[in-house]
Symmetry: C2
Subunit: 123 residues, 2 copies
DNA sequence: CGATTAGCTAACCAAAAGGTTAGTAATTGG
DNA sequence: CCAATTACTAACCTTTTGGTTAGCTAATCG
């Protein structure tokens, strides 16, 4: 059961969005975007314990957003942003609904579908 | 106590990414993208109870992604995709790290910062 | 060698998430 | 009017999340 690509797309989105839903983890990602770092470097800005930071790193790693590379007693952490691509792809499908210029189109689609949907049960 | 206006931008991101981290809620959003719907219409495809669906709607509403408009005993639910814009803006900052053509640039930045960071404690 | 350091685990805790069933309020259809 | 429908609350349960402290292992320093 090789895990490389094998989680359902849905489970992967669960993990990525879940990882992004915490401010501490977003700050860790921001830090990693400026270069790889050791665990204790990542922990330094936060008022929480080191094991707590480790758990955040576990969450990020589980979401595929962080890779750890152990060298001696030091773990070097690297950003892996690729899973963000599918997260953005998910959100991107909704752009039409917030994009000002296409607001009219969105409303049109909504109205049209509303009618189409109502050949079902109600009324 | 004025932070930014309503909820701190961070709290809003927490709520939006948190809302997106569950497959049931993503399916509800996808349904709403095809037009507004009643609560029981939204609940119909799922094997969970109606109150459970209501809780998911609460989460979406709390994230600003759903508006409810009560008309008699029926609640009509509408998608409000605008909060997704800031979520996408957050992710977008990382595009450079997964975009193939700019991989070299990303690596360059990483290496440069790695050096810059290491004027701190270690080694 | 011995002490220190980096990064974990393990065990525990409180609170939040996600689900349930039962009951309630307001509307609507017969 | 009565009964059914819609969408909730309330109360409860279990699992997950985010934190703690204590302790362990392996590597490095003096």
């Amino acid at each position: 059961m090789r895990s490389t690509q094998k989680r359902s797309r849905e489970a992967r989105l669960d993990a990525v969005f879940g990882a992004l839903s915490d401010g501490t983890r977003r700050r860790i990602l921001a830090r990693l975007a400026r270069g790889s770092a050791r665990v204790s470097d990542l922990a330094e800005p936060f008022a929480i314990s080191l094991p707590a930071v480790c758990k955040h790193l576990d969450v990020l790693e589980h979401a595929g957003l962080l890779r750890r590379e152990r060298d001696g007693r030091v773990s070097r952490c690297h950003l892996d942003a690729r899973p963000l691509e599918s997260a953005e792809a998910f959100i991107e499908r909704y752009r039409v609904f917030w994009s000002g210029t296409l607001e009219a189109l969105a409303l049109y689609v909504e109205k049209a579908q509303e009618l189409a949907d109502q050949n079902l049960p109600s009324r």
